[in-house]
């Protein structure tokens, strides 16, 4: 069993109005040292596959087709092997 953490964010070139709004609020809190905030989505996915390679294939397909809209978003993921939970 594998545990996969997927992070979906807007591409660098895309304006992230929610991130901008949060940054505005953070500045109003007085934290001017915070330069930029990009907001995104986070998924935790459990996959039953034999090897890491197959997990990558599954995750990339799911990300390309559903979790991210690759026209405006990009994603990255981390794979971690976990013990089977019964």
């Amino acid at each position: 069993m594998y545990n996969v953490k997927v992070y979906v964010t807007y591409k660098e070139s895309i304006l992230d109005p929610q991130g901008e709004a949060v940054r505005g609020a953070v500045h109003r809190m007085g934290y001017d040292e915070i330069d930029a905030i990009r907001m995104g989505k986070y998924f935790e996915i459990k996959v039953q596959e034999r090897d890491e390679r197959s997990v990558e294939d599954v995750i990339e397909t799911v990300c390309d087709k559903l979790l991210a809209n690759v026209v405006m978003e990009t994603y990255r993921y981390e794979i971690e092997k976990v013990k089977e939970t019964v």
Partner: protein, 227 residues
């Protein structure tokens, strides 16, 4: 002409579309559930506005995988007319039937008001009853209507005359090149953020949307007469 109005869980402009067709154009229209396996017997498909599947993940992202969508894709591939308004437009881009994507409005607000549209292309089967560059008053109601595509796609849209509607006075949501509605290369799939179905009688503030549906009907009649 017989229209299918697809109902997804969370659609809320389905009644308006049915009304626009039945009472506006006098043609036939029926609701078709998202679970349907077939669009046999229909001459046009309409994807309504709303918040299908609660807009979870991204607007239109889940609906795209609902059962009826493979039929809608096939219908489109056969060259038959498919129209999506608002959430319907979002579903069409998520399904890859139209290029680009719809992002959160620039200023984050949900905007609901009449807008001035310009008919940028009146040579489509959806807009032939309008004059070129004619200005229309059609309402918008969306939180994620900020059309985005990369420069290459935009160039392609412009070259192929695929930009059908643009915002005429002010751009309400930050969309690229003031785009309000686009059509596919083949000319049978159109998506737009504004709601022509909410502007089919003067009592509602505008009847500028009526000729959109009348164009669809007239062009269908022309095509079937030619066969």
């Amino acid at each position: 002409m017989r229209f299918a109005v697809i109902q997804f869980p969370g659609s809320n402009c389905d009644v308006d579309l049915l009304h626009a067709i039945k009472d506006g154009t006098g043609e036939e229209a029926e609701y078709v559930p998202h679970t349907a396996d077939s669009l046999d017997g229909f001459d046009g498909v309409l994807l309504p506005g709303g918040f299908s599947y609660g807009d979870y993940l991204r607007s239109g992202a889940i609906s795209r995988f609902s059962n009826v969508m493979s039929e809608v894709k096939r219908f489109a591939e056969d060259g038959k007319p498919v129209f999506g308004t608002c959430n319907g437009f979002q579903i069409l881009v998520e399904a890859g039937l139209l290029p680009g994507a719809l992002q959160r409005n620039k200023q984050l607000h949900f905007i609901c008001k009449p807008t001035e549209l310009k008919v940028a292309n009146n040579t489509t089967r959806f807009t032939s009853e309008y004059a070129k560059d004619e200005q229309l008053t059609i309402p918008i109601a969306h939180g994620e209507g900020n059309y985005y595509c990369d420069d290459e796609t935009l160039k392609e849209l412009e070259t192929n005359n695929q930009i059908v509607f643009t915002y005429a006075s002010e751009n309400p949501n930050g969309s690229v090149a003031d785009i309000a509605g686009i059509i596919n290369k083949k000319g049978n799939v159109l998506g737009m953020m504004p709601h022509p179905e909410r502007a089919v009688e003067d009592l509602l503030g505008s009847s500028d949307g009526l000729r959109f549906f009348q164009s669809m009907v007239k062009n269908f009649a022309k095509e079937t007469a030619d066969v």
